[in-house]
Structure formats: C-alpha cells, structure tokens
Amino acid sequence: MTKKKQKDQNTDFSTPFSEFTRKFKKQKTAIVAGGFILLLCVIAIIAYQIVPYGINEYDYSSILKGPSAAHWFGTDEFGRDIFSRVLCGTRISLSVGLVSVTTAAVTGTLLGLIGGYYGGWIDSIIMRICDTLLAFPGLILAIGIVAILGPGLYNVVIAVAIFGIPNFARLVRSTTLQLKNSVYVMAARSLGATDSRILFRYILPGAVPNIIVQYTMSIGSSILTASSLSFLGMGASPPTPEWGLLLSNGRNYMLTAMHVTIFPGLAIFMTVLSFNLLGDGLRDALDPKLNE
C-alpha cells in the first residue's frame, strides 16, 4: 500500500526531461524531421553497401541521361549514376556538419563557461576575440580561413568550426552569468565545491537546453556553408561526391541536363530543412517561457 502510494507520487512529479518529452511529442513536424535525420544517418553509414552503382563507375553509353528506371536521378557527364553519388555524399555532408559544429560547441562552451564564471581580463580577452570573429561576415571569414589554409574538405571543417565558436561562447557565457549568482550555486560554493565541479555539475546543465537548440540549428547552417565553399571550388575536390561540388559541376550542363543540378541541391535543401525544423521543435519544447 505504502509502496503504491509512493509510486503514484513519483508519476505525478514531472522532471524537466519528462516535461520536455511531453512537449516535444506535440511537435509533429519536428518529429518527422528527426525521423528523416535518423534515416540520413543510416544512409550515411550504409550508403556504399546499398547503392546500385559505384560512385566512380563510368558508363560512356549513357551520358547526361535524365531520370529513368535504371538511373533514378539520371547520369552525369561521365555516365555516373547521380542517385548513387548523392546517397554516398550524405556521409560527407553529415560528417562535415557534425564534426565542425561539435568542435565549435565544445570549444565555445568551454570559453563561455570560463569567461562568464571568472570574469575580469580572461572574460575581456575571450569576448573581444569573439567580437572580432563576429565582425567578419560569416562566409567571408570562412573564405578567408580557407584562403590561408588552402582548399580542401578538412580546411572547410576547420573554417566552419571557427566561425561557429563565438555563437556558442556568447550563449553559454550569458547563461553562466545568470546562474553563477543563483542560490544553488552559492550553496554549492559554500559547501566547498571546486570551481570545475560548480562549472560542470551545476552551471553547465543549465545551459544545455540552449546549447542543444543552437547545436541543431548550426548543423543545418554549417552544411549549407560547407556546400557553398565546395560550390565555390574551395572545399572538396573531384571526384568526391560532395553535394555542393556535384551542383557546381552541374552548372556546365544547366541548359541541357537540369537533373545534374536539381538532385544534389534537393539533397542539401532537405537535409538543412530537417535540421532547422528539428531545431525549431526542440526550442519550442525546451523553452519554459513558451505557453502552450
């Protein structure tokens, strides 16, 4: 009897996480977008096993052919199957997005925590550098970094990561500033908790919801930036099936073979769109101020 009563009380009690899942379940579009992203992740892993043609399989008898039963997305100027190439490009675009944004998120979060918590000259230096990075228009900064490092996919990842850092640093810093004087942090401090314990155990969790939203949204925009750089000839080099590169390649055949540009573009669009929709849904579900 007592046990049952206790159990009832437990179910009545709503944790932030259960609150989040309850709200997130109502975000139908975001759930669909999340499902699509999962599908993309699966494709990214198994693409090379499931594609009907090799990504560098030339077929000079069917050059620049439109979509058909044999080639769903048609073929390019070497008779390569565009469907296979787009599918295999998923791995590149997703990894570029994930790696660059994760790097930016980890670095930015650390900088934001340190700057916000310790204040003083450390904070001034960190924020001044962030301001300077933000004073370059995003894509221009990335282009500048790639111009220094030289073209290539790895350098694009570095460039995209660098211009993501200040966004995370600012976000985490403002939460840190709010939380460092809160009652529970002061209590932890008076109980003798070390700085690193306070930062990672008490302050960081408070910033996590904002970080998650920023993270999801940034992946979308990073994929867009990285493909723009590849499109401009500063990222992946042929014959890599990177989506931006596929599209830039297709511009030569725009008048005769539209499908060469249409499908890679559609892939970028759908991917970025689903990350943005998921980000929107997460924000609505995580925002405690938002009324239902």
Partner: protein
C-alpha cells in the same frame, strides 16, 4: 543619449584595430614565404629580394603594421598581382555593382519579410501562419546557389524574361537580388512574426482592442510600430549575411561585383586583393552594425532613459 552614442562609437575602435591586425597578418599566416608567394612560383632569388624590400618584409613586424596602417589611411590598399593596378582602383570598378545588388536585395527582403511575418503573426495557428512559416523556413534552408540555378532555368531559359548573367540594366539585377534576398526575407519574416506575437500580449494592445479600435488599426498602428524596433536590428544584422552571400550569388550570375572579384583573386592567389576585400567586407559589416545599434537607441525609449 549623446554619451551612449559616443561610447558606442569609441567601442568600435578596438574592434577595427583588431580587424586590421588580423587582415594584416593574413598574408603572413599563409604557410611559406610571403615574398615568394607574391613574386610567383618561377621568380628568381633576386626578384624575391626586391619584392621583400618593396613590401617591407625585412623590417620588424611592428614597423610593417604601422606602414600598412599608414597606407590604409591614405587609401592605399596595395597593388593587384594580377593586373598590376592599384587594388583600390580594381575595387572601385566593381563596388557600385555590389552595393546596388545589396540595396535591391535588402529592400525587397525587408518589405516581403515584414509583410509575411505580420500576415503569419496576426493569423496565429491558422493556415496563413503555417503557409507563411513553411515558406520562411524553406527560404532559410535553401542553398542560394541552387535557388539561383532554378530561377535562371525558369525565368531566363524558359520564359526569357531576364538575362542570365552580367550587369548594367535593372533587368540584370532582378534575379540575383531575388536569390540573395530570399534567405534574409525568410529570417526577417520569422523574426517579425515572433516579435508581433510578443507585442500582441502587451496591455496596450488589449486596451486598444477594449476601446473598440478596428483590428487593422490595432495591428498596423500599435503592434506593427512597436515590433519594428527589434525587426530593424535583425534586418541590419542580416547585412553581413548579405555581404557573404553576395560572393555566392555573384558567382552564380557572373555578376561583376566585389564578391566575384574576391573569388577571382583567390583563384589567382592575388593576396593584396584578397586582403583588401576581406577588410572592406568587415568594415562595412562593423559600420552597419554600429548604425543599427545607434538607430535602435534612438527608436527605443528604454535605452534613452538609462
């Protein structure tokens, strides 16, 4: 008020110094000898020495930076390696085109974005809202180079309404401006919507409705005006986006502006030009942000008081 303006203007100075320093270090951060880079691959040792002398690379770093800054104040941006003419001259040839493109894009995207945002906001959770916001989020997620190709295929190739490339008449401006402005229109629409929804909760809106004003007047006179303060800020911040985007858009439409000049310079490894263009893009961005901040201060009564 004046104190705020002065403080804000003074705050720009350290950022400007840091930016010029970054840009100055730009050529020096490229792996390898800058003099050799400038001279080209097949230059002889003597030529490289002459260039090192010309560029002042044999002097201490601080002196080099000082000379660079002194040059900047005189409007000297260096000499283009490709054409051997002053970089400032090369930029001058193309600058107007980019400004025209940016102005056209920002104008249409502000008008359309704000209207779309209000339309969605005042019809919250109805079909208008869903349509508006679907258009907006698609606009943000669309790769601009892809959108550019699609509009070229539809409006230039199929319908033959506009030329595909080049600059000169207003007809050349329509498609690039549409492409460049679309994501900004989308961002402004989303922001306007949330800002209208925020304002609609205020007491003075309830008062306006309670005294029997027409919904049109409530929306346009009360809600619109007050939500515009923050919309202006966002629109201004998008200007940086516009500058970055101009590189991609100008490349798609072969539009002769400073964005496509930056790409040409990168392909040619014309470092003085790359350096100056990055500096110019950032300067514009900083100045626009400054103007937006000041405008915000003038428009927002809360800031004036503090």
């Amino acid at each position: 008020m004046l104190r705020y303006i002065v403080k804000r203007v003074l705050e720009v100075i350290p950022t400007l110094l840091l930016i010029t320093f970054f840009v100055f270090m730009f050529v020096r951060m490229i792996p390898g000898d800058p003099a050799r880079l400038v001279a080209g691959v097949d230059a002889t040792g003597d030529t490289i020495e002459v260039i090192r002398e010309q560029l002042g690379l044999n002097k201490p770093l601080f002196t080099q930076y000082f000379n660079y800054m002194a040059g900047l104040f005189k409007g000297d941006l260096g000499t283009s390696l490709k054409t051997n003419r002053a970089v400032s001259y090369e930029i001058g040839l193309r600058y107007g085109n980019t400004i025209k493109l940016a102005a056209a894009s920002l104008t249409w995207s502000c008008i359309v974005g704000i209207l779309l945002g209000i339309w969605s906001g005042k019809n919250r959770s109805k079909w208008q809202d869903y349509t508006g916001m679907t258009i907006a989020i698609s606009g943000i997620s669309m790769p601009s180079f892809w959108l550019g190709f699609i509009v070229i295929m539809i409006f230039s190739v199929k319908l033959k309404w506009f030329p595909t490339t080049g600059a000169g008449s207003w007809k050349n401006l329509v498609l690039p401006a549409f492409t460049l402005g679309s994501s900004i229109a989308a961002i402004i629409a989303r922001f306007t919507r949330s800002s209208i929804l925020e304002v609609m909760k205020e007491d003075y809106i309830r008062t306006a409705r309670a005294k029997g004003l027409k919904e049109k007047i409530v929306v346009w006179k009360h809600a619109f005006r007050n939500s515009m303060i923050s919309v202006i800020t966002v629109a201004g911040m998008q200007f940086g986006h516009l500058l970055g985007g101009s590189v991609v858009t100008e490349s798609v439409f072969a539009y002769p502006g400073i964005g496509s000049y930056l790409l040409d310079s990168i392909n040619y490894r014309d470092y003085p030009a790359i350096q100056s263009l990055i500096l110019i893009f950032s300067l514009h961005f900083i100045l626009i942000n400054l103007v937006v901040d000041l405008l915000y201060a003038v428009l927002n009564p809360e800031i004036q008081l503090s």
